[in-house]
Symmetry: C2
Subunit: 83 residues, 2 copies
């Protein structure tokens, strides 16, 4: 069955303590080529039947209203996997 | 500065309670075209300087050893953003 991938990241101006913790760990472990880490979410929505324009539109509404919090997060992408 | 994106998802055979909760909410709200939801993580690693083959290799090691738990999660992709 087709899968729609929704990606959500914290807004740039929002502190991301989890990402900061990972970045600190990387520096301590010697991975100094990475200066910052941000951590967000990735959802896979399994679709019943084919992915139509309407399905994708519904997924975008879901991404904006249910899967993300618009106050602190941005929806980075809503795409069909492998499309 | 360039960004490397690492995507991590729970393994298919692992229960994903957060995804299940979202799937239940979607059904209750009338979005019946989506039969399952799985929730994973998306990391953005900011790279100091250009992304070389070595940087990407280091990011893959980090993805496998630090950003994911191989017992319950799979690294889906390690790619340069926009590349």
């Amino acid at each position: 069955m087709p899968i729609i991938v929704v990606e959500v990241m914290p807004k740039a101006e929002i502190l991301d303590p989890q990402g900061k913790a990972v970045a600190g760990a990387l520096t301590r472990l010697g991975y100094t080529q990475f200066s910052a880490v941000r951590m967000g979410k990735r959802f896979e929505l399994t679709v019943e039947g084919p992915v139509t324009a309407e399905t994708l539109a519904a997924a975008k509404v879901i991404a904006d209203e249910i899967l993300s919090n618009a106050v602190i997060e941005d929806v980075v992408s809503v795409t069909e996997l492998g499309a």
